[in-house]
């Protein structure tokens, strides 16, 4: 009984490590895009359209002759930036909302009913509607996704706040004359960091998929900005003639999202001693 459990735990750790390495590589590529891919991602060459992967074009070219490798590396910048901003934005908004709803019992019901209403919409449908209203710019896509994912964070943070606020130490610091705002900020919030971080990592992954989905449906970022989503969307009709136009950006999406999910899972398991025991 002993051995398989240790092996499984090691396996688990190894997957987490692997995901972390994949994410670091992608992040480094994205940050140093001009150095890693010197070709202009928007430079069209009609004669070189839909070329298979070769030494000149590592991952081939798309229907306008643009270098796929350059587009994927440069696209990583936009895709990751959108996802990071979405994770950050929904984390901040959701934390504030959840903290307030969980701590001030009178605000709980009204705030949570709004959150419930927002969660009742299918994610992608709500995002489509919001982008359609706001207009398809990069910032509006982020804004729409933040609005979609804030309720998730708010729910988790509220639930954790409900637990923490009943702990005796909250009463103890109140007995020390600490004001409510400081109790929330300095005493309750630090106790919620691990669930918030886990949620943020999941939302990061969801946001990459959602951005790709929105761009694929034509309500994402404008087509001149290379993101993994716009690449798949723009080239999908040529997929039967040149599989690489959708395969490589698709793989980029899958690897990044999967790594983020696995990393989030691993972090949650490490932070949650109860879950670790049952593994």
């Amino acid at each position: 009984m002993q051995l398989p459990r240790i092996v499984r735990q090691l396996m688990h750790r190894r997957i987490v490590m692997l995901s972390a390495v994949v994410l670091i590589v992608i992040t480094v590529l994205a940050l140093g895009a001009p150095w890693f891919a010197s070709a202009d991602p928007n430079d069209t060459a009609v004669l070189d359209r839909l070329k298979a992967p070769s030494s000149a074009h590592l991952l081939g070219t798309d229907e306008l002759g643009r270098d796929m490798y350059a587009r994927i590396v440069h696209g990583a910048r936009y895709s990751l930036a959108i996802a990071a901003l979405t994770a950050l934005g929904s984390m901040l908004a959701g934390t504030v909302l959840g903290l307030v709803a969980g701590f001030f019992r009178r605000l709980d019901a009204p705030l949570m009913r709004i959150v419930d209403a927002m969660m009742a919409f299918p994610d992608i449908l709500l995002a489509i509607a919001l982008v359609a209203i706001l207009g398809p710019t990069l910032l509006n896509v982020v804004l729409a996704l933040v609005l979609v994912y804030t309720p998730r964070v708010a729910r988790v943070v509220r639930a954790s706040t409900l637990v923490v606020r009943e702990l005796l130490f909250v009463e103890a610091v109140r007995a020390l004359g600490v004001r409510t705002s400081r109790i929330l900020w300095r005493h309750i919030l630090p106790n919620l960091l691990s669930p918030i971080m886990v949620q943020a990592s999941f939302i990061f992954a969801y946001a990459i998929l959602a951005e790709a989905g929105l761009s694929f449906l034509g309500v994402g970022v404008p087509p001149e900005i290379p993101t993994w989503g716009t690449m798949v969307a723009g080239s999908q009709q040529y997929a039967d003639k040149a599989f690489w136009v959708v395969l490589f950006p698709g793989l980029a999406i899958i690897f990044t999202a999967l790594s983020l999910q696995l990393l989030g899972d691993g972090v949650r398991d490490l932070l949650d001693p109860k879950l670790k025991k049952t593994l």
Binding site: R106, F169, A172, V173, A175
Partner: protein, 348 residues
């Protein structure tokens, strides 16, 4: 007897008069604390004794104004507290702001559960320093230095190192010491200790009690000691207030109370102590004495004396009306029809 006479010459630090706390619930108004009065003198300890649900903790939370707002507690009465500056303030009538400046500063509280009374994600040094910074306006470095002095004061070894440790790295007894350090950090004049030793094992209990007594002797603070442990009361308190179902049933200095309890409930509580009956000259009982029955529901109190359903000495008179709390001697009060009121010229 001499202690109470001495003490009454001084101005008491806290005078609680007719304190009542009730909570509206769906089933009706629950009177958790009804008409409770007592006082605490400087440097003395008044113990609030009673079983679970007798209103001990509600009394302390009411005095600290820590009852949850959502509970909609209805509080009446007065609690006159003499501040360090010599001002007399009514704790129940102060604004939230004024109350906050007293809490942790002049009024401090220790809780029953040292395991959960400390924030798990903040080092103990920072937690003590927070209160000092808040009330004394010290900067971070000076506050941490004060935190270290406090840890030394409560006899925590290797205090410089402990300062940077988290609560989970300390044992229960150590954590209760930290809680005391936290409460004492701003040199309070009144400490409310809500069952501070209940969650600790017996040897640690004794250490913590000795520590509290030493700190009291050094600082001259008053202690409101809330407990159900009569052994602790006998060793630690000067005055004892026995609560039953939210009312004071007996109030006396500690020696006379243990020597000759007047209320049947107090008598019952003392008889529950294994060694007590034997010491009083009675044959050692084969079985431990227990007061029969349970505390009556606060929603449907008996028409007469609250203790009547469990009292072995009940008379027909007991079921008719709640007896009044009467002075039975210069320093004692009891709430029982069997106890005659003493005719004494009370020296105001």
């Amino acid at each position: 007897m001499s202690t109470s006479l001495q003490a009454s010459a001084e101005q008491p630090r806290l005078v609680v008069r007719n304190l009542s706390t009730s909570f509206p619930t769906e089933d009706g108004l629950v009177r958790s604390v009804a008409d409770v009065s007592f006082m605490i003198h400087p440097g003395k300890t008044t113990a609030l004794v009673g079983e679970s649900g007798s209103g001990k903790s509600v009394t302390s939370l009411t005095l600290m104004r820590l009852l949850a707002k959502t509970a909609n507690a209805r509080v009446s009465g007065e609690a006159h507290f003499v501040t360090r500056e010599g001002r007399t303030v009514d704790l129940l009538a102060l604004s939230d702001r004024e109350m906050r400046s007293l809490r942790g500063n002049q009024l401090a509280m220790i809780f029953q559960e040292p395991m959960t009374s400390l924030n798990p994600v903040i080092t103990i040094g920072e937690q003590i320093a927070e209160s000092v910074r808040l009330h004394k306006g010290l900067d971070h470095g000076a506050a941490l230095a004060q935190a270290k002095r406090m840890l030394d004061l409560v006899e925590i070894p290797a205090s410089a190192q402990r300062l940077h440790e988290y609560p989970h790295q300390l044992s229960g007894g150590m954590r209760q010491r930290v809680m005391i350090a936290l409460a004492m950090a701003c040199d309070p004049t009144l400490l409310i200790a809500d069952e501070p030793t209940t969650a600790l094992d017996v040897t640690i209990q004794a250490q913590i009690l000795v520590l509290m007594r030493r700190l009291q002797a050094e600082t001259g603070m008053s202690i409101l000691f809330i407990t159900h442990n009569l052994g602790v009361v006998a060793h630690h308190a000067n005055d004892v207030v026995v609560l039953y179902a939210g009312r004071v049933v007996e109030h006396a200095p500690v020696r006379p109370l243990f020597g000759a309890p007047e209320h049947p409930y107090t008598q019952g509580l003392l008889a529950c102590l294994p060694g007590k009956a034997h010491a009083a000259g009675q044959p050692r009982p084969k079985r431990l004495f227990a007061i029969r029955g349970q505390v009556s529901s606060p929603l449907s109190p008996p028409p007469g004396c609250a203790f009547e359903p469990r009292c072995d000495q009940a008379q027909s008179l007991c079921t008719q009306a709640m007896p009044a709390l009467v002075d039975t001697s210069a320093s004692r009060q009891a709430r029982c029809v069997r106890v005659p009121a003493a005719v004494i010229a009370k020296a105001a």
